[in-house]
């Protein structure tokens, strides 16, 4: 099973890439998606997370083919 992970804005620059795929076998929370995608980078303060384009908590469980996105506080408008 595979998760598609996206990063935006300053977080994308911090991480050094805009996306990655994450293969997995056992149930994963979005926190674990971050930790396995970025083993050497602590989650910065205030980072937001969405699954399939809806906001979720950090203990939300992902499913096969989910699109997970991490991004900094939004600054539109």
């Amino acid at each position: 099973m595979t998760i598609n992970v996206h990063y935006f804005a300053s977080l994308k620059e911090h991480i050094g890439r805009s996306k990655n795929e994450l293969p997995y076998t056992s149930p994963l929370t979005v926190r674990e998606v971050w930790e396995q995608s970025n083993p050497d980078i602590l989650i910065p303060n205030n980072v937001l997370v969405a699954v399939n384009m809806d906001y979720v908590d950090w203990d939300h469980l992902v499913e096969d083919q989910d699109e997970v996105a991490f991004f900094p506080p939004v600054t539109g408008g």
């Binding site: 935006f8 600054t75 539109g76």
Partner: protein
């Protein structure tokens, strides 16, 4: 209920006029229209800003904006609503965002338009990178709360 993202500059007054004549529901019921336009200033937090790039999350941005409008329609007696938001490269004085709410009574239009703007500012996935000169730029770190200002 309409959400539009623009890659290029837009004229908010032309959009409003066109929307009202072509798409507005029940114009004879409308007693109140509340409109907010956000434009780019040439300064922010003490620095001159020469331009700005607005990043967004294609798909999620539209989805969240539509949720905000649905939420506003469920909370207030409003007839129609519109969000227009710019993305990409922006220059000072360019419009960034247009919010319009049409209702029978003014209390609903005022409350709903402000609610939509605050919800957009805090939940819609847009990120501003300010260009300070030809080589230097910085991400805007967070939006402030528009309700935290003196009131009468």
């Amino acid at each position: 209920m309409t959400v539009i993202l623009y890659q290029q500059g837009f004229n908010p007054y032309q959009i409003l006029q066109d929307y009202e004549s072509a798409q507005l529901k029940a114009p004879e019921k409308i007693g109140a229209t509340s409109i907010f336009i956000g434009t780019m200033r040439d300064f922010n937090e003490g620095s001159n800003v020469t331009g700005m790039t607005l990043e967004y999350y294609p798909g999620m941005t539209e989805k969240q904006l539509e949720k905000i409008l649905q939420d506003a329609h469920s909370r207030w007696a409003i007839e129609d609503s519109l969000i227009v938001h710019r993305v990409g490269d922006i220059l000072p004085k360019d419009p960034i965002v247009l919010v319009a709410v049409w209702s029978s009574h003014r209390g609903d239009a005022f409350d709903a338009s402000r609610f939509i703007m605050e919800a957009l500012k805090s939940t819609a996935p847009f990120w501003k990178k300010e260009h300070l000169n030809s080589t230097e730029s910085r991400w805007v770190s967070h939006n402030t709360n528009g309700y935290q200002l003196k009131t009468p």
